[in-house]
Point group: none
Chain length 218, copies 4
Amino acid sequence: MERQARRAQVLRHAKRLFARKGYHRTNIADIIAQARIARGTFYLYFQNKRDIFAELLEQALGELRSRIRRLKIGPGEPDPVEQLRSNLKRVLTFVLAERELTDILLNHSTGFDRDLDARIHDFYERVTDQIQRSLDLGIEMNLVRECDTRPVAYCILGGVKEIVGQLSRDQRRDVGALAEEVLDFGLRGVARPELLEAAGLGAATPAQDQIFYGPKID
Amino acid sequence: MERQARRAQVLRHAKRLFARKGYHRTNIADIIAQARIARGTFYLYFQNKRDIFAELLEQALGELRSRIRRLKIGPGEPDPVEQLRSNLKRVLTFVLAERELTDILLNHSTGFDRDLDARIHDFYERVTDQIQRSLDLGIEMNLVRECDTRPVAYCILGGVKEIVGQLSRDQRRDVGALAEEVLDFGLRGVARPELLEAAGLGAATPAQDQIFYGPKID
Amino acid sequence: MERQARRAQVLRHAKRLFARKGYHRTNIADIIAQARIARGTFYLYFQNKRDIFAELLEQALGELRSRIRRLKIGPGEPDPVEQLRSNLKRVLTFVLAERELTDILLNHSTGFDRDLDARIHDFYERVTDQIQRSLDLGIEMNLVRECDTRPVAYCILGGVKEIVGQLSRDQRRDVGALAEEVLDFGLRGVARPELLEAAGLGAATPAQDQIFYGPKID
Amino acid sequence: MERQARRAQVLRHAKRLFARKGYHRTNIADIIAQARIARGTFYLYFQNKRDIFAELLEQALGELRSRIRRLKIGPGEPDPVEQLRSNLKRVLTFVLAERELTDILLNHSTGFDRDLDARIHDFYERVTDQIQRSLDLGIEMNLVRECDTRPVAYCILGGVKEIVGQLSRDQRRDVGALAEEVLDFGLRGVARPELLEAAGLGAATPAQDQIFYGPKID
DNA sequence: GATGAATGAGTCTTCATTCAT
DNA sequence: GATGAATGAAGACTCATTCAT
């Protein structure tokens, strides 16, 4: 078999196993049994167990990076919200196409080793940076309300991550509808706008009587 | 009570180690060295390594459960938003008080084994259920805009989780301010309300020309 | 069993196996089978296979070092040749007492790794230095004939090493007689002195007609 | 002849690697990488790894055998000491020409397997036999002093081996001078002859007052 | 002849758990 | 209750050798 094909074959099986059982409960023995290759063959294509895992993780991160495009503002560029929608859809579509990579990234890549932890952390920091910069620009352009953009960026990131996790568990969800819901939430929040308005729009503290809604975390 | 003190001592050291290095990179040897007990002594207090980890995890979940209170609506009850704020603050205060438990729950409890995974999944599902029920009620009471409440609930959950993770990394953040920012975001989103209004409030698809900001996830 | 006793037990068996089969053909499995201990027990006492080997080697070197004493010249000190004889006898006695350590040092410690090679090389260099210094002093005191003392020191070292190797193979040899023979050879060479004398004592090149014996290396 | 050239090429590279790193740390992978041949090709020319090593060892032994010539005594034959000198010089010249083979024989051929060990042991036994027979003859002819010729033969062998090892490490030494020094040492020992004489030539135990010199092995 | 992908036996090492004292 | 020596299953990785192309 050609080198690349064999490599891909092993990666495919390893991906499934890592997604299903995580790193530590997946043995080389498991992988080579699934891939129907000999023990030594594995080490012909990958330095060690960590390596193949890191490669899968990098696949996930790389694919996500390519699907999250920087917003472009200018004449001839699509509506920014449309661009957001496209980013979201591309990410959610990835989840459907690569559920296993998503699982690996979301559920099995944590507290692993310095290097891998840093890679993932960096990825998320970068995404957060992009979100924050967008918010800052939006504020400058009078489109986004004044706020502390860093924590808000984290909220947005977290929301998308959670949605991604859910979609990965229940793949029957409609990507378009999900994206719309997330966008709406991010833009408008959950409160009925007329209530907020009634309560005074500029209020930094919207804790007025009629507005008692929001996350009922109990 | 001597027994309980000894147990607590071991738990304390195990907590620190698990938080720092995760489950797999923490050895029984590490724990007993830190706790200055003999190997056999460890097994007098805990069935096995998984058990002590599960106990710490349960500590985290239990503490969080107790800090997330069901919203109460009625005369004499505090403002619901105030209740949300309190919930959030209690959770964030827990992160400051028990950074290590937070780390264990957030970064080291994933893809572990069927049972533990289920326990964590259940916890989050329950929290999500509470959020969703609150949203549903809010819609009923005309306080929350119409939306698909399940994904929105996940967004809210995710946002809080991410904020919790960040706070655990950078503990100098002010809990009150953070809570406020999260509340605001959840209630109002990021868009300047007058723009949304101008764009037509009822529009399910707010992708009008003027509204082009939002999370610039690129 | 007490720590030291158990350690000694493992060392004893490992010593026998290393001496018999060398490092590479000796497995941990062999050692623990001989010592009748579990696999893990081995690693309770030794870091790894190399370690236990290094320790045995160090035992050999240390023992030899302590048996090779610096010559002391002065009133009240024993005759220097007697001191030489004692050194030799102590070394040869060590070979009889610790045939296995001798085998390890002589036959199985070569080309191992940087560190171990260096340790052995250093040992021999130090011994050579001692021999050479003695020769230099002897020349100064008009007791040793003029010669290039470095190569001569190597010849002496090599001779002793070879004798040691032989004694280790055939332990029935009498240590006293062997020591005497080696001493005689080192002091007088093999030529009959009157022939050398006849041939001219000072001749640096003793290649005269009558002197045609010596190492018949063919 | 193409075949022979290829074989020689592989042998050359293997020789360098074995000399540098020894048998066990040299992989087939190393050899074929150096020789720029495929893995399978190696096994077209050599049965296995041990074989190529054995062949190199045999090269060394064979070359040495041919360079160590039996002393010939008789009219028309060169001075026996001259013959010894020639033998020595041929051996030392071999060390310079084939440092790597020398290293393999001296440092990496020990404790290998039954067969190879035996081959090397036989070689040295034969050399020792030759030396011993020469000594015996010398005694018969009243040229060599009475002694136990076996251990003396070993001393001589050992001395030469050590010199060979040193020359292999430091190749700048002058072969002629080295040979002379070794010859002198073997013939005359280190003691000043007049002291030995004064002490009584025939004394088996030369440990008299004035003769207190010799190898100061401390 | 040449190639190099594939093989799998062999080895070291780790570490949670047990149990006699 | 406390100890810590002993256990052995489990798992990662290496590397000489084979064989289909």
